[in-house]
């Protein structure tokens, strides 16, 4: 085993034991590659920055889809309403700030 190979596990252990965590406990986005060689880029980021934002539009679109499908076998009026709701939900979803 080469010296470089021997060194790699040690560095990985240190990293996985929290060497890279911020002093205030914030999550850290590390940039290690598959071979285990740390890149130089390392960022401390907020929970909000790395967590997906909440959104009501998935629920809205699902509800609209149900109305659309019920309308397809019952009343054209409900079908039209469902289509409008689906369109509105897709637009709302698309325009939402992420």
């Amino acid at each position: 085993m080469s010296q470089e190979q021997q060194d790699q596990p040690k560095r990985i252990e240190q990293l996985s034991q929290g060497e890279g965590s911020a002093s205030n406990g914030a999550p850290v986005a590390t940039g290690e590659n598959v071979a285990g060689t740390p890149k130089k880029v390392r960022k401390v980021v907020s929970e909000e920055a790395i967590s997906p934002h909440p959104s009501i539009w998935p629920l809205g679109l699902a509800l609209a889809l149900v109305v659309l499908l019920i309308g397809s076998v019952t009343q054209p009026l409900i079908l039209g309403l469902g289509a409008l709701l689906v369109a509105a939900a897709i637009i709302g979803w698309g325009l939402e700030r992420r």
């Binding site: 596990p9 990985i12 252990e13 990293l15 996985s16 034991q17 929290g18 890279g20 965590s21 911020a22 205030n24 406990g25 914030a26 999550p27 850290v28 986005a29 590390t30 290690e32 590659n33 598959v34 285990g36 960022k43 401390v44 980021v45 907020s46 929970e47 909000e48 920055a49 790395i50 967590s51 997906p52 934002h53 909440p54 959104s55 009501i56 539009w57 998935p58 629920l59 679109l61 699902a62 509800l63 889809l65 149900v66 499908l69 019920i70 397809s72 076998v73 979803w93």
Partner: protein, 563 residues
């Protein structure tokens, strides 16, 4: 932005008004966090399990004695249709998707699913699809054509003389319901594929991926390729029913067998969609409680892929009795027998995993061992059904009911409970009561065998499935049916014990440590329950047991094993 910390974020929260998404209800309605969505999937799935279970009890009460009067024939049709539909589409799939949602990102070292909002959308469509299906009871027109809704019986009118078949909305509820559930499954599957292929932690090659993630990946591909067939079949039947086409009507140039081909080319992969994630759960539980690495990781992983491929070649074994040409029967009998090979490879590897291990008989392990035994019975009688002359004899009898319940209840449901007991500490931060868990396991094991084993004999004695009652003068039927019904109530008792355990644990349960089982995979390298961002630092993976390596650096797998 990139350098903001949690502390700064908290300070900001103090001076602004709370949004809807930060209220208790708003958080659940708008969440895109894979863990909350996973919990919602599981709770929804378990609720529908109770609904489907009560339907099963109604069926068994009706059949407990000859000439039963508990249900009339029409209601009996509705109840067995909704029992099958609910258990398959609204219990097993949501439960397994819930496990996948919660556990897979943690296992592979990701912070969330690839498409969080699509993940949320998949859940809500499932919930509304489930409510829509069950709402059919409220309007008095629940589906009544069996869980496979065979055409042309599910058409509005049949034949040249327009005999009424299913004129009400019964079949429409089912068709629209499965279309909605299909949308949900497609959304979920796409998410799993992209998440598993693109968001694995550094160093987690495909050959180091936990086996539950492997099986979830295979299942997601199966759903993506199998569901279009069901959706197409459903749309064609809806067109027949509402637009006047005749895709499934022989008298007008259509083909009733087209429905069966389309349905079962979804329906048989579906069986593996329901069992493969359970295989994955068992492959996670056994090594931890046997204190050994999994035996034959590569074989277990790739036999799952083989099962996935073969599952698309066996559908017509459900149709031997319709009069397929001999060459087709030979082909489908062979492919059905072939699929037993990769399945047996898994069972061999599981047994080899526990062989010589320091087995810890905690409840997750009991359910995993129960799974192997029950699934083995279901697998063996499945091979028997692949033999065409035997299938002719028992087709559409209770032998088939016994087979599918040993696979899906003795198999999948045991796997699900193994997963619940195993991961519950991670989900909730509480330990389920061990003694109550043992009662739950043993009663369920006894109940399953008491209910479903006699059905083999009933099938061989000629009792057709889906009959709502039977006369008293047929030798053996009354006694075996009574035994099966007693077994069903024993299962119900075991589930009540589980529910009590669940509620009591959430209320006053013992706090769970982060790693109560001394486990091997990354989900245990987080707090119980995990923080929203999962990992403070994305872990680096050097072997198939990354958390074991972290806890045992001197004897880490990567020091001695190359994979």
């Amino acid at each position: 932005m990139a350098t903001r910390t949690i502390g700064e974020g908290a300070a900001t929260t103090l001076v602004r008004r709370r949004g809807f998404s930060e209220s208790y209800i708003g958080e659940w309605l708008t969440t895109t966090d894979h863990k909350l969505i996973g919990i919602m999937y599981m709770l929804t799935g378990f609720f529908f399990f109770l609904v489907g279970g009560m339907e099963a009890l109604l069926i068994r009460t009706q059949l407990a004695q000859p000439n039963g009067q508990v249900l009339d024939p029409q209601t009996y049709n509705e109840i067995f249709t909704m029992h099958g539909t609910t258990m398959i589409f609204l219990f097993v799939i949501p439960m397994l998707t819930g496990f996948g949602n919660y556990v897979v990102p943690l296992m592979i070292g990701a912070r969330d699913m690839a498409f969080p909002r699509m993940n949320s959308f998949g859940y809500w469509v499932l919930l509304f699809g489930g409510i829509f299906l069950q709402a059919s009871f409220l309007v008095g027109q629940p589906p009544n054509g069996g869980w496979f809704m065979y055409a042309p019986l599910s058409e509005v009118n049949c034949g040249l003389h327009a005999v009424q078949c299913t004129p009400g909305m019964n079949a429409d509820f089912w068709l629209l319901g499965v279309l909605l559930l299909g949308v949900s499954s497609i959304a979920g599957s796409l998410n799993f594929v992209v998440t598993i292929l693109k968001l694995r932690a550094p160093g987690m090659s495909i050959n180091r991926m936990p086996l539950f993630s492997w099986m979830t990946l295979v299942t997601a591909f199966l759903l993506l390729f199998a569901l279009p067939s069901l959706s197409a079949a459903a749309v064609l039947l809806l067109l027949d029913r509402h637009v006047g086409t005749h895709f499934y009507q022989y008298a007008f140039g259509g083909d009733p067998l087209l429905w069966q081909h389309l349905f079962w080319s979804f329906g048989h992969p579906e069986v593996y969609i329901l069992i493969l994630p359970a295989f994955g759960i068992i492959s996670e539980v056994l090594p931890v409680f046997a204190r050994k690495p999994i035996f034959g990781y590569t074989f277990i992983a790739w036999s799952g892929v083989a099962i996935g491929f073969l599952s698309f070649t066996v559908w017509a074994h459900h149709m031997f009795a319709v009069g397929l040409p001999p060459i087709a029967q030979a082909f489908f009998a062979t492919s059905t027998t072939l699929i037993a090979i990769p399945t047996a490879v898994k069972i061999f590897n599981w047994l080899a995993t526990i062989w010589g291990g320091k087995i810890n008989f905690k409840v997750p392990m009991l359910f995993a061992l129960g799974f192997i035994a029950m699934f083995l019975i279901g697998g063996l009688n499945g091979v028997a059904l692949a033999v065409v002359p035997f299938d002719y004899q028992v087709t559409d009898t209770y032998f088939v009911v016994a087979h599918l319940h040993y696979v899906l209840f003795g198999g999948t449901a045991f796997g699900i409970f193994a997963g619940i007991y195993y991961w519950f500490p991670k989900f909730s931060g509480k330990m389920l009561n061990e003694r109550l868990g043992q009662w739950h396991f043993w009663l369920m094991l006894i109940g399953v065998n008491l209910t479903f084993f006699p059905m083999h004999l009933l099938g061989i004695f000629g009792m057709p499935r889906r009959i709502y009652t039977y006369p008293a003068n047929i030798v053996g039927w009354s006694e075996l049916n009574l035994l099966a019904s007693i077994g069903a109530f024993v299962i119900a008792l075991s589930i009540l014990i589980f529910l009590f355990n669940f509620v009591a644990t959430l209320k006053n349960g013992e706090a769970a440590p982060d790693d109560p089982w001394d486990a091997f995979t990354l989900e245990w390298d987080t707090t119980s329950p995990p923080k929203k961002y999962n990992f403070l630092t994305i872990p680096i993976v050097r072997s198939r047991r990354p958390f074991y390596d972290k806890k045992n650096p001197d004897i880490a797998d990567w020091r001695s094993v190359i994979h």
